[in-house]
Amino acid sequence: MRILLIEDNEKLARIMATALREQGHALDRSSDGVDGLHLALSEPYDLLIVDLGLPELSGLEVLRRVRADGTRDVPILVVTARDSVEDRVRGLDSGADDYLVKPFAVAELLARVRALLRRGSGSADAVLKVGETELDPARRRVRHAGEPVELSPREFSLLEYFMRRPGVVLSRSMILEHVWDYRSEILSNVIDVHVRRIRKKLGDPAGERTILTRRGMGYCFGQEEP
């Protein structure tokens, strides 16, 4: 996949570029907004990674102009030090598909890039089916191997988030952002407990067929797809 990274911090850009290249992506780098926008509009990238704090032209402006171009349905991952709800909303309104807040781990970046490159499909209300598990978002019902499964609201939201992205490793902070709306360091323990309970209810207490643990990265529903 071809990725454009617009990041003005040299060291950070190098780390990100190295990691992405190791994943087999073709990577172009740009260190300011004007140059980055020009590249983004002239080359057919599969993904843009844009830092919001750019010289010459702000990241938000780059986002707006790329989206205004109309021909670009390219997914955009925003990287920023600003993480308030208002900042997020502004970023997402300007056309960002995901929002990565500094400081982040490289694994987190890679997980998000993977998720964006394989964006979730299907309409919001269609019944999701992965392996033996079926989830009906409209009726809020879950069946596993044909048997109905009773889930708490939180467990349901969590399972829905997993099942919308089968085969994609989801990091803890991605899970937190999508399923929880308050932040706490201790919440990752809560994720683990919820995941354990869901597994048990799906008849997979060891986590071998449904929600798989990816050490140091997060969780993945079903086998990771190459």
């Binding site: 780390i15 990691a19 609201p153 939180r154 308050y182 706490s184 201790i186 323990n189 809560v190 309970r197």
Partner: protein
């Protein structure tokens, strides 16, 4: 105000008391001067009357006396002819009573020494005041005249009656005037202080968390207006200082994020290539520290962000908002073999920022879970107490000693240094309560447990029945 003295009185009370005393002093002075004047005036009237009677007697005697010698019979005749309530007595120069009518005892008493009393035309003098009578003494100016000393006297009954009724009237009017004066000063002080009282109410609604709020200025240019202006200037200076401080905290936190990201990235890359267990361990330790610093930066930003102004105007039912938090908390509690129970769980409405409200409860419950030994119990309740929504989190944990209790909400304060975290959780809870115009209180007994109570103003028209209790 049930507290007795020496409770300091309000300005209004003091003005009322001062007004009462002022009116009392003024009206008592006026009444006493008036009664004194009235008494003098009545005496003067009486004196004029007595003098006329006496002169009439002397004139009648002078017309009818044939010889220069004193004619006691004529004198007695004239004295007896006297009508009305005037008593007349004639004394000779030696102090013998020559003629008198029996109407008045005073006239019968020997006249006093000529030196005392007031003189009229150098001959009349009013005798010293007797309480019930008034008498005038006239001494014939020429020596050897037929009459030595003439005494006329009258009862003071009418005058005294008038004085008594005026005094009675004063006894009724003066307390009335005092009460009225006191009430009027209290009332007027109330009117004068009303702008101040409304300013106090306005100032009370200023939230500690909202530095952009100002007192309304009446624009009248009077003292209250000047006070409001001065207070607003002070508030503005505080806001500026606060903004500078928080802007610094926010900027510093943001600036730290990029280097932290780089640090992480470099350490991750090194860790992937680490060849010896020792270097791997060192790198992992470094990464753990980067994580801690990241958490610290996040915690500081969360705190600083609250001061930048947040939207707390969503109408929410905390009982509903908290449902998810409790689900997470139950999960965490059961992992530690703790019982999490709801006590009162009332449905009500308040204005709030739902994510912040969830964060508030989560931090409190997480804190309770952290400091409670396995087997303990954590109770969470939401209830309406008067106009407030009370969120209560009670644990059966180790408790906090009284001297540390008030420091719990200070940033970076930790009861146990090995507790992990940075001691920002409860500071954040307090700030969240404050931006919602609420407050937090804590009670604790060592070895028995701790209770946190957050009070937030509830909306009045939300009389929903309790969901369960």
């Amino acid at each position: 105000m049930s507290a007795p003295w020496p409770q300091p009185l309000s300005i209004r009370g003091r003005v009322g008391v001062a007004g009462t005393f002022a009116v009392a002093a003024l009206s008592l002075a006026l009444v006493s001067v008036f009664l004194q004047q009235l008494r003098g005036w009545l005496d003067h009237e009486l004196d004029l009357h007595l003098r006329a009677e006496a002169e009439e007697f002397v004139e009648a005697y002078g017309q009818r006396a044939r010889s220069g010698a004193f004619d006691a019979r004529l004198a007695q005749e004239l004295v007896d002819a006297e009508e009305g309530e005037v008593g007349i007595a004639v004394w000779d120069a030696q102090g013998r009573l020559l003629a008198a009518n029996a109407d008045l005892d005073a006239a019968l008493r020997p006249p006093p020494a000529p030196s005392s009393g007031v003189r009229y035309d150098d001959a009349w003098r009013a005798d010293a005041d007797l309480p019930t009578e008034r008498r005038l003494v006239w001494t014939q100016p020429e020596r050897g005249g037929p009459i030595g000393t003439l005494v006329v006297a009258s009862s003071r009954r009418h005058a005294n009656g008038l004085l008594t009724s005026y005094t009675r009237l004063a006894l009724i009017l003066v307390p009335g005037a005092i009460a009225l004066g006191g009430f009027l000063s209290w009332w007027l002080a109330g009117i004068a202080l009303r702008p101040l009282a409304s300013m106090v109410r306005e100032a009370d609604t200023l939230s500690a968390a909202r530095h952009d709020q100002r007192l309304p200025q009446p624009g009248s240019g009077d003292e209250v207006d000047q006070l409001a202006t001065a207070m607003n200037r002070a508030l503005h200076r505080m806001q500026t200082a606060f903004k500078a401080l928080n802007g610094f905290a926010a900027d510093a936190s943001h600036e730290l994020r990029t280097p932290l990201t780089i640090l992480r990235g470099e350490l991750d890359a090194l860790l992937a290539k680490a060849e010896t267990p020792a270097s791997q361990e060192a790198l992992e330790s470094c990464l753990a520290e980067v994580d801690r610093m990241t958490q610290l930066v996040q915690g500081l930003l969360n705190l600083a962000r609250l001061d930048g102004g947040v939207d707390t105007e969503h109408a929410v039912d905390p009982a509903a908002v908290f449902a998810e938090v409790l689900e997470d908390a139950e999960v965490l509690a059961s992992e530690k073999d703790l019982t999490l129970v709801r006590s009162r769980w009332e449905s009500l409405e308040l204005r709030a920022n739902p994510p912040l409200l969830r964060q508030l409860l989560w931090n409190l419950v997480e804190n309770a879970i952290h400091y409670t030994q396995p087997g303990g119990r954590i109770t969470v309740g939401v209830e309406r107490v008067h106009d407030a929504c009370q969120i209560v989190v009670r644990d059966t944990g180790e408790g906090v000693s009284p001297e540390l209790l008030e420091r719990l909400f200070e940033p970076f304060f930790r009861v146990r240094s090995d507790a992990g975290g940075f001691g920002l959780g409860l500071a954040l809870v307090k700030r969240i309560a404050e931006v919602h115009r609420g407050a937090i209180a804590v009670e604790s007994t060592l070895g028995a447990g701790t209770t946190f109570t957050v009070s937030l103003p509830a909306l009045k028209d939300s009389a929903a029945p309790p969901l369960s209790s």
